[in-house]
């Protein structure tokens, strides 16, 4: 069983997933950060592979992506680094990034490399559902990879059901239609949207992301979904000196 499926089978709430950009702050920090996060209580990891034109990202993740690219991060290097992943890391790991680097690497080759290094799934925000279904799904399934789709408050009920039927792993609920790094405001309409999704009794578990930056916002997310995803706030907290101490301090906010 894929580690993502196993996680959601064993744990139903308060699941904490952390996003970080490969190659930031240090080019060689990918595995060290994964180890530190698992040790500090993260349930799942999303490792971003950087892209030059990240349209769904706010300034913090844009900057981390640019920094990583400037230092020489690419998919070849990332997969090389990830050969060490499963020597120590046991929690589920997803790769997150934009479709063009995957296309240039080769979809089949990308999926095969993910499976070889022990990556469990992918989040590719600009890969459309219809393209996934027609051209990618079989390859993803062949290599046992979960593909995670996003849902926003504007996504129609019909489309959410379609997304549910194509998902294997979890569904990524955006707190609002926004680029990454905004603050989560659970207004009445957001709460109604989260409740509406919860009431749909989807086949897949749900995680709320975009805008979670504190214990308070994480707890709010956990009220409506199986857990929360933290990206920008974590990336912002990283710095090259005292990497482990900083990660521990950040994670103590959520896993006291």
């Amino acid at each position: 069983m894929n580690r993502i499926t196993k996680l959601f089978k064993e744990k139903k709430n308060n699941i904490l997933s952390i996003y970080y950009t490969a190659g930031y702050p240090g080019l060689g920090d990918t595995i060290a950060i994964a180890n530190a996060l698992e040790k500090a209580g993260a349930d799942m990891l999303e490792i971003g592979f950087p892209y030059s034109d990240p349209v769904a990202d706010g300034p913090v993740i844009q900057a981390s992506s640019k920094h990583a690219l400037d230092q020489g991060m690419d998919l070849n290097l990332l997969f090389e680094q990830l050969k060490e992943l499963r020597k120590t890391v046991t929690i589920p790991v997803l790769l997150m990034g934009y479709v063009n680097p995957v296309l240039q690497y080769g979809v089949e080759r990308f999926c095969e490399a993910c499976a070889q290094v022990g990556v469990d799934g992918c989040i590719v925000p600009d890969l459309p559902m219809v393209e996934y279904e027609e051209f990618y799904k079989d390859t993803f399934l062949k290599y046992g990879l979960s593909n995670v789709f996003l849902v926003t408050p504007q996504t129609s009920v019909e489309r959410i059901h379609k997304i549910d039927s194509l998902s294997n792993g979890f569904i990524y609920l955006l707190s609002s239609s926004a680029t990454t790094g905004q603050n989560l405001q659970v207004s009445d309409t957001t709460a109604a949207y989260f409740s509406r999704i919860a009431a749909m009794e989807l086949n897949n578990p749900t995680m709320i992301g975009f805008g979670i930056s504190s214990k308070e916002t994480f707890d709010k997310a956990c009220k409506y979904a199986n857990g929360g995803i933290i990206g920008t706030a974590f990336v912002k907290s990283l710095s090259s000196d005292k990497l482990n101490e900083n990660i521990d301090a950040f994670m103590k906010m959520f896993r006291a």
């Binding site: 892209y51 034109d53 349209v55 844009q62 680097p101 240039q104």
Partner: protein, 393 residues
């Protein structure tokens, strides 16, 4: 061969809608409605009324006699430079603002390179009383100062894009981010035949008035609506698509798309996408783009801000791959010289973008008597600073 969009939003291998879920509802709303709205007689009536009385269409098709003599062919200039706001861009913004109104949108965003599309968007927003935000690369803001001032005077907010190469590509990223963050009341007026389906098709339909008029004008002036050659410059490719549109299915008409070679295709300072690019995804569609082996988009270079873009629209990629149109490149120097030549032989100062198309005439060989249409997509007022520095006026 079908050169136009199919029901799935593709031109052969190119097109589609590679967008994050946050953009899906807006793009889907457009996709479901654009043909219905554009086809509505009341829309057509208002669109053509504005093109005629506000933009000043039809734009003349001018037989450039001295250039014709020099090149030994009948060189016709399609005078999009005479449109209100000085370029072809307004054809599309008039169409899209009417469409945005029909969709009930209250706020308009746009990206701009040379500033022509930004000005055209700010203009129609002033005309219709809608809020307007234009994203423009920091470098372009510096090299196109008069257009920045025009947009501000028209009441638009000009936001500097400071990421990446700080040019058109990055302005487009910022506009897409704005749209993600404003998913309900905002319409994004993309200025070229790029972006997710249905944008390339929609923009080419609005720009197709260029070739529609050209055919009629050629028939009146020469007795034949079929030219031998049609030339246009290509950044994203909207004036070219408008200039090609009604000639695409007539394979006797040779289509020539002129890309910006920058300092030379092999110098590392170029925007000649079909020479340097590979298939991939940029700004929501599958097309040809300049990129590294790892799929990172390469920063292009052109003296002309309007051509300084690392991709081309998906329909262009299809016309290129099927060899329906010929894609060539012209350097910065060649374009500036051609701009000067047109100015001094015809009394028309062309935009540096359009001067790329003119420059290719130097490389063609004519038997004499061929009818050649060049899309003079914009006027050169905005480029005076560049011309002055280059020629030392």
């Amino acid at each position: 061969m079908n050169y136009f969009v199919n029901e799935k939003g593709y031109y052969g291998d190119f097109g589609g809608a590679y967008i994050p879920e946050m953009l899906y509802p807006n793009v889907e709303e457009l996709r479901q409605n654009y043909l219905k709205i554009i086809g509505d007689p009341s829309f057509q009536q208002e669109f053509h009324h504005l093109l005629k009385d506000y933009v000043g269409r039809p734009s003349p098709l001018y037989l450039a006699k001295r250039l014709s003599k020099k090149y030994n062919a009948n060189i016709f200039l399609k005078r999009e430079d005479l449109n209100h706001t000085g370029a072809h861009k307004i054809n599309n913004t008039i169409g899209q603002i009417l469409l945005a109104e029909k969709l009930g949108k209250k706020r308009i965003i746009a990206e701009t390179g040379a500033g022509q599309h930004g000005v055209a968007t700010a203009t129609v927003c002033a005309l219709r009383g809608l809020e307007c935000v234009v994203y423009m690369g920091e470098i372009d803001i510096q090299r196109q100062a008069p257009n920045v001032a025009r947009m501000k005077m028209l009441g638009a907010k000009v936001v500097s894009a400071v990421s990446g190469s700080k040019t058109l590509k990055d302005a487009t990223n910022e506009a897409m981010r704005d749209w993600i963050n404003n998913p309900v009341d905002t319409h994004y007026i993309i200025g070229s035949v790029v972006g997710p389906h249905p944008y390339p098709d929609m923009v080419s339909i609005f720009q197709s008035v260029i070739s529609e008029e050209t055919k009629k004008q050629l028939l009146e002036q020469t007795g034949n609506d079929q030219p031998d050659y049609v030339l246009a410059c290509v950044g994203g490719g909207s004036n070219a698509m408008g200039m090609f549109y009604h000639f695409i299915d007539d394979e006797k008409v040779k289509l020539i798309a002129v890309e910006a070679g920058g300092k030379g295709v092999d110098t590392g300072f170029s925007a000649a996408t079909t020479f340097l690019g590979k298939e991939g995804v940029l700004h929501g569609s599958r097309s040809i783009l300049m990129q590294t082996a790892d799929g990172q988009v390469v920063e292009p270079h052109s003296v002309s801000a309007g051509l300084d873009y690392p991709g081309i629209g998906p329909q262009h990629a299809h016309l290129f791959k099927t060899h329906r149109a010929k894609y060539v490149s012209i350097t910065d120097d060649e374009s500036l010289q051609a701009g000067l030549l047109c100015t001094q032989m015809e009394g028309i100062i062309p935009a540096i973008e359009s001067a790329h198309a003119l420059a290719y005439l130097e490389k063609m060989e004519f038997k004499g008597g061929e009818n050649v249409v060049v899309c003079l997509s914009g006027r050169g007022d905005k480029d005076m600073d560049t011309y002055m520095k280059y020629f030392g006026f």
